[in-house]
């Protein structure tokens, strides 16, 4: 591929950065305009992205690459890292998702955050997040990617703990930051390994020469370390525990960071580095296993959640598992298609949930809702579109995305993956149906539900646009060869094909699964014929265990946190206080004792000092005289 310089790339991340600075310093003075300034910059950034991508698409398929070198970032001897931006088909897809969906969420947040005392600060953080996320996907080497990677982690921390007056929110922010930190640190070691092997971090060089430079073991080590970073960022088992707690942040944050963009960075990393993963082979299997386990595990947790946002959080974890499943089967194009589809419908679901929470005056408990479809018709329709899309009802986009994953599994002879994936799909349709029926159908179960109100236009307009987007997003990949996956092929390669059940049969199976699950939830939660509370109680202790994420948090507390705290206690109060401080104090005390003795020599009489000097001089003279 011949690289094409394109001078406009820097504009895309620079706009959100500029408004982030503006809102940070003048946000208070801008007042209500802060939100519009922030949204406008993301919208313009989206427009620029569209222009760049349309130029990219206009070129022949094997020549789709724009590069821009901004400046030399690090230059030490022969090791040079440039601030290089790069747009190819994968990053083109990502920047459109980030700026497009990001712009809608920004506009929505204008309504959602109205009246917040730190309104400008909120939009500053949101813009900063968009900037770092764009750097992450635009970077042409691993260091720029890592810059964005850490930056989005920082913004995630700031925004989860945005309402830090509540200690639980600050705790959640810390938990998210520290948990992802574990993965980030391993990833940094992976980057160091890449530098030691290749002497550079540039994608083009690393992927171009990986086959000759790396042994299989080295490739496995690097790929697994990179995947550790992806596990942390994308909340996969075993580092998934931060994402449900991250729902403490304002809902637009959950939609933007913890559903549509940041958490998909791990998928992007795997797709971007797929050359290394394929060299290893073992690493791909690990990706697949982690994806399958996460998809099933998180779906079982989502069923039992009582908090509307926690349902969506576990649902996100489960869906990310699907993406890693696809990547683990070398179907990187499918993983990216799933990523885009998920960004659409999960952003829609989160914004819809935010609208419900807003209309219910900050009530998030499903048990307090009910019957909201009459009071919030627009939200209801939009939310239902999102839920149906994710549940996999054709012809909505979620159906095609999930079907593509299951098809790859079936066609490459991975029957276990196919069955478990189908099971996870069943569960996801189930928890979505449960959520929709509990929220919008039946009778209101609290005063707040009876007094709920529809969201203001600035909030429902993005909902409607997104719902329209979800309803039409299947256009992206509707052609037999796949419009989006075909576009991505120059980077991701062709998805593996094989033999198995015909596509139509698979589609019928998948649709049946979804419809059965939705019908089942309607019978339990929607029809009024089943006492679902009593049903839940009869199933104890299973629902309680699922509600608590199968006690993974508690296990971490016992196995990791308490021993770590005990160790910290020992270092603080025994090692530090006794041994280290003890040694220092002993030295000090010894010197003091010596000085106490020594100062008795002082008389204060000048003449006795003079005599001492005189006697000393005589003594030296005598010594010199005797010696010679």
């Amino acid at each position: 591929m011949v690289s094409q310089p394109n001078a406009a790339l820097w504009v895309i991340p620079a706009l959100p950065l500029a408004t982030a600075v503006v809102n940070l310093f003048w946000g208070r003075r801008l007042g209500r305009w802060a939100g519009w300034v922030a949204s406008a910059s993301v919208i313009v950034s989206f427009a620029v992205s569209l222009a760049v991508v349309s130029q990219l698409v206009a070129k022949p398929a094997d020549d789709r690459l724009f590069l821009q070198h901004l400046f030399d970032w690090i230059s030490v001897g022969r090791f040079v890292v440039g601030m290089d931006l790069r747009v190819d088909s994968v990053s083109a897809t990502m920047i459109l998702v980030i700026t497009g969906i990001g712009a809608l969420i920004h506009v929505y947040a204008i309504g959602y955050m109205a009246g917040d005392p730190r309104y400008g600060r909120f939009f500053s953080y949101m813009n900063l997040f968009v900037f770092f996320m764009l750097m992450l996907v635009l970077g042409a080497n691993y260091l720029v990617l890592y810059l964005g990677w850490e930056g989005v982690g920082l913004c995630s921390y700031l925004l989860i703990g945005f309402w830090s007056e509540v200690p639980a929110n600050a705790e959640a922010a810390k938990k998210a930051f520290i948990t992802t930190r574990i993965g980030d640190t391993l990833m940094l070691i992976g980057l160091a390994l890449i530098v030691s092997r290749f002497g550079t971090l540039d994608f083009e060089v690393v992927f171009g020469t990986a086959g000759t430079v790396l042994t299989k073991d080295a490739a496995t080590a690097i790929a697994l370390l990179l995947f550790a970073g992806a596990i942390g960022k994308s909340a996969q088992v075993p580092l998934h525990v931060w994402l449900p707690d991250a729902m403490a942040g304002p809902t637009p944050v959950s939609a933007l960071i913890h559903a549509a963009t940041m958490v998909t960075a791990g998928v992007y990393l795997v797709v971007r580095s797929h050359v290394l993963f394929e060299l290893s082979g073992v690493a791909l299997t690990v990706v697949l296993v982690v994806g399958v386990v996460t998809a099933v595990y998180a779906a079982t947790c989502a069923i039992a959640q009582q908090d509307i946002k926690r349902v969506l959080a576990y649902s996100t974890i489960s869906q990310l598992g699907f993406m890693f499943m696809a990547a683990g089967m070398r179907a990187y194009g499918v993983a990216m298609f799933f990523l885009v589809a998920h960004a659409f419908y999960k952003a829609l679901l989160f914004l819809g949930a935010g609208s419900v929470i807003h209309g219910m005056h900050d009530e998030q408990d499903l048990r307090q809702m009910g019957g909201l479809r009459r009071l919030m018709p627009i939200t209801f329709v939009a939310f239902a579109v999102g839920a149906l899309a994710q549940a996999g009802i054709p012809p909505l986009v979620g159906f095609f995305a999930k079907d593509a994953v299951l098809e790859v599994a079936q066609h490459t002879g991975r029957e276990v993956v196919y069955v478990l994936g189908g099971f996870a799909a069943f569960l996801s349709a189930f928890y979505l149906g449960r959520m929709v029926y509990l929220t919008f159908f039946g009778e209101p179960r609290s005063d707040r539900a009876r007094q709920a109100h529809e969201a203001p236009p600035v909030m429902w307009a993005p909902l409607v646009i997104l719902a329209f987007g979800v309803a039409t997003a299947e256009w992206l990949n509707l052609t037999p060869e796949g419009r989006l996956t075909g576009f991505l092929e120059s980077i991701t390669g062709v998805s593996p094909a094989g033999h198995g059940l015909a596509v139509v049969e698979l589609a019928v199976v998948a649709t049946t699964i979804s419809i059965v699950a939705l019908a089942l939830t309607w019978w339990i939660y929607g029809s009024g014929r089943v006492d679902w509370r009593g049903f839940r109680e009869r199933l104890e202790p299973w629902p309680r265990a699922a509600l608590n994420g199968w006690y993974v948090d508690r296990a971490y507390d016992t196995v990791v946190i308490q021993p770590a705290k005990a160790g910290a206690w020992i270092t603080a109060y025994v090692v530090d206080a006794r041994i280290i401080d003890g040694a220092v104090n002993a030295i000090g005390g010894g010197v003091k004792l010596l000085a106490d003795g020594g100062r008795l020599l002082q008389t204060g009489f000048v003449r006795s000092y003079a005599l001492a000097v005189f006697l000393g001089a005589v003594a030296i003279l005598v010594y010199v005289g005797v010696r010679s």
Partner: protein, 101 residues
């Protein structure tokens, strides 16, 4: 005929001993100070005498240095003594004995 070096050294030694006894026995700070000057000049005398004996100017140069240092010392020392006198109307060194444990 040159005066033998021994005479100079004996005079120097006598002056130095006078100075030393003065420093050790006097209580008046000014007198101690004068005694110190006497010691210094005794040493200067010895230096000049040796310089002449060896026909080497180094000794004289050293004597000049010692005078300059002595002058500086006088400035500082007298200032201290004046300050002490202003504070306590006395220059008895045995009264000034706060600087001890």
């Amino acid at each position: 005929m040159r005066t033998p070096i021994a005479f100079y050294l004996m005079l120097s030694g006598i002056l130095f001993m006078l100075g030393t006894v003065g420093v050790l026995t006097r209580k008046n700070a000014l007198l101690i100070f004068m005694s110190v000057e006497l010691q210094l000049n005794a040493v200067n005398l010895a230096l000049v005498a040796f310089s002449r004996l060896h026909d080497d100017l180094t000794g004289q140069v050293l004597a000049f240095f010692s005078m300059v240092v002595a002058a500086a010392e006088v400035v500082v020392g007298l200032a201290i003594i004046v300050a002490i006198y202003r504070r306590r109307r006395s220059v008895d060194v045995d009264d000034v004995r706060e600087l001890r444990w």
